[in-house]
């Protein structure tokens, strides 16, 4: 871990100012991923702006029928918030499928969006990695890539996005609210994270001087028919090999709207809106779910050790949708 200076501003404008005026500055809130990466010399900020005490720690109505999650509400407080449990149980379940109680007590909602990949090579500074050291090469493509991406990867990077919470937020069409010295902006969730392309060092579209202030949830929470299915190598406290956030709006047995977001398969929460739309008007049957799973996975590409994810993801989609529709 390299040396860094530290400041603890008391309001958002001061925080934004702090991060803009210090070289190589980063915000720290929960710290559960940033400190982890700093101890491995993967991230080396020269200044940390501690935002953990800013007044962004409330869950409120957003005036549009949905909830606004303050960026600094902890994951645990979000998952166990009565309104979240009632209106967005998919989000609660996704959060509780991730990490451990201790980490959920520390990690914040804003920070969760900024979690970095678990790719072994990204974490090990002895090996080349384009995400950590652009231009050094991707070790995973010809290496041990069991946990890596099958969708949307590039020749430069096959890392996956590690969050569970974000998979639910993607399915819910959340909006990320950010601010900087240049003013406020809101980013649709689908545009927040990005695919690696030729710049895998960039996980998302947030500017370095921008701060996440809140996450807006739309009114529609799919509380009735939803599932968060997480498949991993142990029963708890492990990252997803594949996860699925499935949400259905049903009229009788007819699907009015379907949302399917995948984790563990791509550099960002993976959605295929065309495939989802194909379910509209169709009955909720296993056959229809298999068909949509095939559409979502159709472009998937496996590597030496993660071929299994292609079939697993398909089956997970079918299982999650079947559970959401209460077929099983």
């Amino acid at each position: 871990m390299n040396p860094f200076t530290y400041s603890r501003p008391t309001d958002v404008p001061a925080a934004v100012q702090d991060v803009a005026t210090h070289a190589e500055a980063k915000f720290i809130a929960g710290g559960t991923n940033l400190l982890d990466l700093m101890k491995e010399n993967v991230m080396k900020p020269h200044h940390l702006v501690d935002i953990s005490r800013l007044a962004l720690n409330k869950i409120e109505e957003n005036g549009k029928g949905g909830l606004r999650l303050g960026a600094l509400v902890t994951n645990a407080a979000t998952a166990y918030h009565p309104e979240v449990e009632k209106r967005y149980p998919l989000l609660s379940k996704a959060i509780l499928a991730g990490a451990s109680p201790q980490l959920r007590n520390m990690a914040t909602d804003g920070g969760n969006l900024l979690q970095r990949t678990r790719c072994y090579y990204f974490y090990d500074v002895a090996t080349p990695c384009n995400k950590r050291e652009p231009g050094s090469g991707c070790s995973a493509i010809k290496g041990y890539n069991r946990i890596h991406a099958i969708l949307g990867a590039s020749e430069q990077c096959i890392a996956t996005h590690p969050s569970d919470m974000c998979i639910a937020l993607a399915a819910l069409n959340a909006t990320v609210l950010v601010t900087s010295k240049r003013g406020d902006r809101s980013i649709p969730f689908a545009e927040f994270h990005r695919l690696p392309g030729d710049t895998p060092q960039l996980d998302n579209t947030l500017e370095p001087d921008e701060i996440i202030t809140a996450i807006d949830l739309p009114e529609k929470g799919f509380a009735e028919n939803h599932t968060y299915l997480k498949i991993r190598d142990r029963a708890s406290y492990a990252f997803a090999l594949v996860s699925v956030a499935a949400a259905l709006e049903l009229e009788g047995n007819t699907i009015r709207e379907a949302r399917i977001a995948l984790g563990g398969v791509a550099h960002k929460p993976w959605r295929n809106e065309a495939a989802e739309a194909s379910l509209a008007g169709k009955p909720a049957t296993k056959e229809n779910f298999q068909q949509v799973a095939g559409m979502i996975i159709s472009g998937a590409k496996g590597y030496e050790h993660n071929q299994f994810k292609i079939e697993l993801a398909k089956r997970a989609i079918v299982r999650a949708l079947s559970q959401a529709a209460k077929l099983i």
């Binding site: 040396p3 860094f4 530290y6 710290g31 101890k39 020269h46 953990s52 201790q102 007590n105 500074v125």
Partner: protein, 172 residues
């Protein structure tokens, strides 16, 4: 075949940050320290103050051995900076017993043989204190899931669940 490999490092020493005043209230006692910002809460406890009951098992939030309670909430002390906890109330394993009288969870861990080497034990017990306070574990399966942030390499899990259940009476 041979080739030359060079490690990519920032090869110039940077200036060190000045120590900052940090006030931690640990087990009811005030500790006023001067710490550089890069000191984790865990290292502050173990190396700078002397509370070695809180253990370092991975230093990366992956094992739970460093679990302490901050303002009553269980967290991993390795994944937070001491300076970020300025002014907060920290409870470690050393603060649970009342004099010679063990906390009910401590007594239950002994009675149910809920440890072997004992290294994960302070973290397990602090985690269980947090678990009970959170009030979310209604069943044995809930305890298992909500104690999964504490790895026990000796494999005392069934006894850990027994010990916690004996204190909560089955439900929380």
């Amino acid at each position: 075949m041979s080739n030359t490999v060079q490690e990519k490092t920032t090869l110039a020493a940077q200036p060190l940050a000045e120590p900052l005043p940090v006030h931690l209230r640990i087990n009811g006692e005030d500790h006023r320290l001067q710490l550089r910002p890069w000191v984790s809460l865990l290292d502050a406890l173990r190396e700078y103050i002397g509370y070695t009951g809180t253990k370092k098992g991975c230093d990366h939030g992956q094992c739970g051995a460093c679990t302490v309670l901050v303002d009553g909430v269980r967290i991993n002390a390795c994944m937070t900076l001491a300076v970020m906890r300025d002014g907060q109330e920290i409870t470690t394993i050393e603060g649970l017993a009342n004099g010679d009288k063990l906390h009910p969870l401590q007594a239950a861990f002994v009675e149910h043989d809920a440890f072997q080497c004992g290294y994960c034990t302070p973290g397990q017990i602090c985690s269980a204190v947090g678990l009970i306070k959170e009030g979310r574990a209604k069943t044995r399966d809930d305890i298992r899931e909500l104690m999964s942030g504490n790895i026990c390499r000796c494999g005392a899990y069934t006894n850990i669940v027994d010990a916690i259940e004996s204190v909560t009476g089955g439900t929380i």
